[in-house]
C-alpha cells in the first residue's frame, strides 16, 4: 500500500526542498556579495593586522568564557531544580527561564545596568547602608559576561532540566538501591544522560556569544572590548569604512562556518519542551538540600531582579510623552508588522522543511541511500544557516545590494530584517516542529493510507490536531524574537525605518534614561504577555 504512495512522497519533497535551496542560495549570495565588493589585493595584504588579531582574540575569549560560565551555572541550577521539584513558585521560575530565550537583549542590558550600573540598585544600597560603592564600571568584559550568562545560562538550565527530568525513574531507583553517593549518582546516572546535550548546548551558546551584537555594542564600552560583529557595525555606521567592514565580515563568516562545521551538530536544544513534572524518588541529604535551595535562590535573584528593576524604573516614566511621540508609534507598529510577518513565514518554512526532512528520514517513505542522506544533511544545514551567517553580515550584504540596485532603502531594510528574523527563528522552529511531524508520520502513515486520507484531509485529521500547539508556539517564539531583535536594524535604522529596540537604543544612546525605562517596560510587557498568553488563549479557544 505504501509503495503506491512513494511517488507522492517524492513530489512532496519539493516545497521544502525549494525553500532549503533558497536559503542556501541566500547564503551563497551573502558570500558572493561580500567577495564581489572586496578589493582582493588590499584584502589579502591587510588581512592580518594587529587590530584584526585583537578582535578575533577578544571575540573568541569572551565567547569561550561566557560559554563555560553559562554551562557551569546551567548545569548546577538544572540539577538543583531537578532534585528540588516541589517548592512553591518552581513552575514560575521554570517559565521565566523559558521566556529568557525571547527576552529582547536590550531589555536584559537595561535591567543589568539598573541593578549593577554605577547608579544601580546595588551601588545605591551599598552607598546608603555602608557609605561605599563599587568603582568598577559595568561596561567592559564584566558587563558582557554578565549579560551573556543571564541569557545563555537560563537557556542551558531549561534544556538540561528537561534532560534531568527525562532520566528514567528506574535509573535513580537502581542507583539508590546500590547505595550510590551523590557524586557517583551524578557520574554514572546523570552525567551520561546530559553528556551529549552538553556538547550541542555548549556549541550553540558559543556561536550565539561569538556573534553576539547588541550586548557587546551596549556594554562593551570601549574599542578594547569590541567583537568582530560590533567592529563591522562601527565600520559601516560610524567610520563609513566599507572595505574594513567587508574584511571583518569575511573573517567572521569563515570562522563561524568552521565553527558550525566543527560542532557537527546543527541541533538546537529545545529549551521549552514541557517538563516531565516527575518527582525524583531520592531524598537528598540535608546539607545537599541546603546547597540546592541556596543555588536556586541566588540564581532566581540573578534572573528576576533585572526584570523587576525594569518594572520599577519604568513606572516612573512619563508614558503620556512616550505614547504621543510619533517615532514611538511608528516603531511600535513597524515592530508588530515585522514580527507578525516573520512569525508567519517561519511557521510555513518550518512546516515545509520538516515535511521534506521526514520523507528523507523515514525509510518507508523514501528508501534510504547515500543521496537521501546527503539531501537530509543539506536540508538540516539550510535551516540552521543563521549560526554560520550572523544577521549583521546578512544585513551588510543587503546594505551593499541596496547601494547597487536602486530600490527604496525601506524595502531593502524591511527585506533584510525579515530575512534575518526568519533565519534566526528557524533553528528553534525546526527543533520544535520536526520531532512531532516525524512521530505523526511514523504512527499514522499506515492508518491514513488505509483510510485514503490525503492532502487537505490528512492535514485536517492527522497533522493539524497534533501540530497546532507547536505551530502556535513557533509563531509566538518567532514573533517575540523578532520583536526584540537589534541586529540588522542597527545598520538600516533611521527616523524613516525604526523598530522598538532601535528606538530604545537611540534613547539609551542619548541618555534619555527615564523614557528609555518606559519603553523598556512596554517592550518587556509586550514580549512576555504575548509569549505567555498567546499559546494559552489558543489552547483555551481550541478546547471549548
Amino acid at each position: 500500500m505504501l509503495s503506491n504512495s512513494i511517488w507522492r512522497f517524492r513530489l512532496s519533497v519539493f516545497p521544502g526542498g525549494v525553500i532549503s535551496i533558497g536559503l542556501l542560495l541566500l547564503a551563497f549570495l551573502v558570500f558572493y556579495t561580500l567577495f564581489l565588493n572586496s578589493d582582493y589585493e588590499s584584502f589579502t595584504s591587510s588581512l592580518i593586522t594587529n587590530r584584526t588579531i585583537g578582535l578575533i582574540k577578544f571575540t573568541i575569549f569572551q565567547a569561550l568564557l561566557s560559554t563555560i560560565i553559562s554551562i557551569i551555572i546551567g548545569t548546577i541550577l538544572a540539577w538543583s531544580l531537578a532534585h528540588q521539584s516541589s517548592f512553591r513558585g518552581r513552575d514560575y521560575l521554570v517559565a521565566l527561564l523559558s521566556s529568557s530565550l525571547v527576552l529582547p537583549t536590550l531589555i536584559v542590558v537595561f535591567g543589568i545596568i539598573s541593578i549593577l550600573g554605577n547608579n544601580g540598585w546595588v551601588n545605591r544600597a551599598l552607598l546608603h547602608f555602608f557609605d561605599y560603592s563599587f568603582e568598577n564600571s559595568i561596561y567592559g568584559l564584566g558587563g558582557i559576561l554578565i549579560a551573556h550568562v543571564y541569557l545563555n545560562a537560563s537557556f542551558a538550565t531549561r534544556s538540561l532540566l528537561h534532560i534531568f527530568e527525562s532520566i528514567p525513574q528506574e535509573r535513580y531507583k537502581l542507583a539508590k538501591s546500590l547505595n550510590f553517593s551523590t557524586f557517583k549518582r551524578f557520574l554514572l546516572v546523570e552525567y551520561p544522560a546530559i553528556k551529549l546535550s552538553l556538547k550541542s548546548i555548549s556549541s550553540t551558546i558559543f556561536l550565539l556569544c561569538f556573534t553576539s551584537f547588541a550586548i557587546v555594542l551596549t556594554l562593551g564600552g570601549s574599542p578594547a572590548y569590541n567583537t568582530l560583529e560590533v567592529a563591522i557595525y562601527e565600520a559601516v555606521r560610524l567610520d563609513f569604512d566599507i572595505p574594513l567592514a567587508l574584511k571583518l565580515a569575511l573573517i567572521q563568516l569563515c570562522i563561524t562556518m568552521v565553527l558550525v562545521f566543527l560542532s557537527a551538530n546543527f541541533k538546537i536544544g529545545n529549551s521549552n519542551i514541557k517538563t516531565q513534572d516527575r518527582k525524583i524518588l531520592w531524598k537528598e541529604p540535608k546539607k545537599l538540600q541546603i546547597f540546592q535551595i541556596f543555588t536556586i535562590f541566588v540564581f532566581t535573584l540573578f534572573f528576576v531582579l533585572p526584570l523587576i528593576s525594569i518594572f520599577v524604573d519604568g513606572l516612573s516614566a512619563d508614558f503620556r510623552k512616550i505614547l504621543s511621540d510619533s517615532l514611538f508609534i511608528k516603531s511600535f507598529f513597524t515592530s508588530l508588522f515585522i514580527a507578525t510577518i516573520s512569525g508567519i513565514i517561519t511557521v510555513i518554512f518550518a512546516l515545509l522543511i520538516s515535511d521534506t526532512r521526514r520523507n528523507f528520514n523515514l525509510s518507508h517513505r523514501i528508501k534510504k541511500s547515500k543521496t537521501t542522506n546527503f539531501f537530509n544533511i543539506l536540508i538540516a544545514f539550510s535551516g540552521n544557516i543563521y549560526l554560520a551567517i550572523p544577521s549583521l553580515i546578512l544585513g551588510l550584504s543587503f546594505f551593499l545590494l541596496s547601494q547597487k540596485f536602486q530600490a527604496p532603502l525601506t524595502v531593502w531594510a524591511i527585506g533584510a530584517v525579515l530575512c534575518a528574523n526568519v533565519l534566526m527563528s528557524l533553528p528553534f522552529a525546526l527543533s520544535i516542529i520536526y520531532p512531532p511531524m516525524q512521530r505523526i508520520a511514523q504512527h499514522y502513515d499506515k492508518l491514513s493510507f488505509s483510510l485514503n486520507l490525503t492532502g487537505a484531509r490528512r492535514w485536517l485529521y492527522c497533522e493539524w490536531p497534533y501540530l497546532k500547539s507547536s505551530i502556535v508556539y513557533v509563531f509566538t517564539l518567532s514573533f517575540c524574537l523578532s520583536l526584540g531583535d537589534l541586529g540588522v536594524i542597527a545598520l538600516f535604522g533611521s527616523n524613516e525605518i525604526t523598530t522598538l529596540p532601535w528606538y530604545l537604543y537611540q534613547l539609551m544612546g542619548s541618555y534619555q534614561t527615564k523614557d528609555g525605562a518606559g519603553v523598556a517596560m512596554i517592550l518587556l510587557v509586550l514580549t512576555l504577555s504575548i509569549f505567555i498568553l498567546l499559546p494559552k488563549v489558543f489552547k483555551n479557544a481550541s478546547s471549548t
Binding site: E170, K173, L174, S177, L178, L188
Partner: protein
C-alpha cells in the same frame, strides 16, 4: 520470613492496603491490570515510597523505616537495569560497592556469577552492545553479587521473546532455590507466574487477593 502487614499508601483517589508473606526459597507472583498498583507494592517494599501505615518485617525485624540502600533487598526492573556505557563486569561489580578500586577476590566472584547466569566471556563487552536477555542476565548477576536475601522483580522479562523469557524465568527459579532467596515477581502475564511462582496474588481495588 518476609512479612508485609497492612501496608497502606494513597495515590490520587486510590488507597492501597497490602498484606502478604514470603517464605525462604519461595517465589510469590503478583499480577493485575496496568495501573492496579503492582509496582507501587514493590516501590513500598523497596523503600522508594513511604507508606501511610503498616509495616514490613524481615526475619522478625521491622525494616519499614530503613532507607532503600539499607534494606535486605535487590531489584530487577523491566528496563534501564544496566549502565550502558560501562562494561559487563563493571556493571556487576557496582553491586559490591561503588569504589573505583576493585579487589581480585571481588573480580573473581563477579566472573563466577556471570558464569552462573550464562555470560561467561562477556566480561569486557560494553553493556549497550548486549541483547535484551543478556542485559537482564547482567542485572541478575549484579543482584546476586549483592547477596541480599530478598529479590524483587518488576516485570523484568516483559519485552523479551518467548524462548528467552522462559530461559530467564527458569534461571530465576534455579538461582532463587540455590541461594535461598525470598522472591517477589510482579508481572502482567499469568503464564510467567504459572511457570515459576509458588503462590500468586492479584491486585484488585488496591488489595491483594490470593489466586
Amino acid at each position: 520470613m518476609l512479612q508485609v502487614h497492612n501496608l497502606t499508601y494513597r495515590y490520587d483517589e486510590t488507597i492501597y492496603d497490602f498484606s502478604l508473606h514470603v517464605e525462604k526459597n519461595e517465589i510469590v507472583g503478583i499480577t493485575g491490570e496496568s495501573g492496579s498498583g503492582k509496582s507501587t507494592l514493590l516501590d513500598l517494599i523497596a523503600g522508594f515510597l513511604t507508606p501511610l501505615s503498616g509495616n514490613i518485617s524481615f526475619k522478625n525485624e521491622d525494616i519499614t523505616l530503613l532507607n532503600t540502600e539499607h534494606r535486605p533487598i535487590t531489584i530487577l526492573f523491566q528496563k534501564y537495569n544496566t549502565f550502558e556505557h560501562l562494561s559487563v563486569i563493571k556493571n556487576v561489580l557496582l553491586g559490591i560497592g561503588t569504589s573505583l578500586k576493585v579487589k581480585k577476590q571481588d573480580l573473581d566472584e563477579a566472573k563466577q556469577i556471570l558464569k552462573e547466569v550464562g555470560l561467561e566471556g562477556f566480561e569486557n563487552k560494553i553493556a549497550s552492545s548486549l541483547s535484551g536477555g543478556q542485559s537482564q542476565r547482567v542485572a541478575l548477576a549484579r543482584s546476586l553479587i549483592r547477596k541480599k536475601p530478598i529479590l524483587l522483580l518488576d516485570e523484568p522479562f516483559t519485552g523479551l521473546d518467548l524462548q528467552t523469557r522462559i530461559k530467564m524465568l527458569n534461571l530465576v527459579k534455579k538461582i532463587s532455590k540455590k541461594r535461598g532467596l525470598y522472591t517477589i515477581m510482579v508481572t502482567h502475564d499469568i503464564n510467567d507466574c504459572e511457570l515459576i511462582a509458588n503462590r500468586v496474588y492479584n491486585v484488585k481495588n488496591g488489595k491483594l487477593c490470593l489466586v
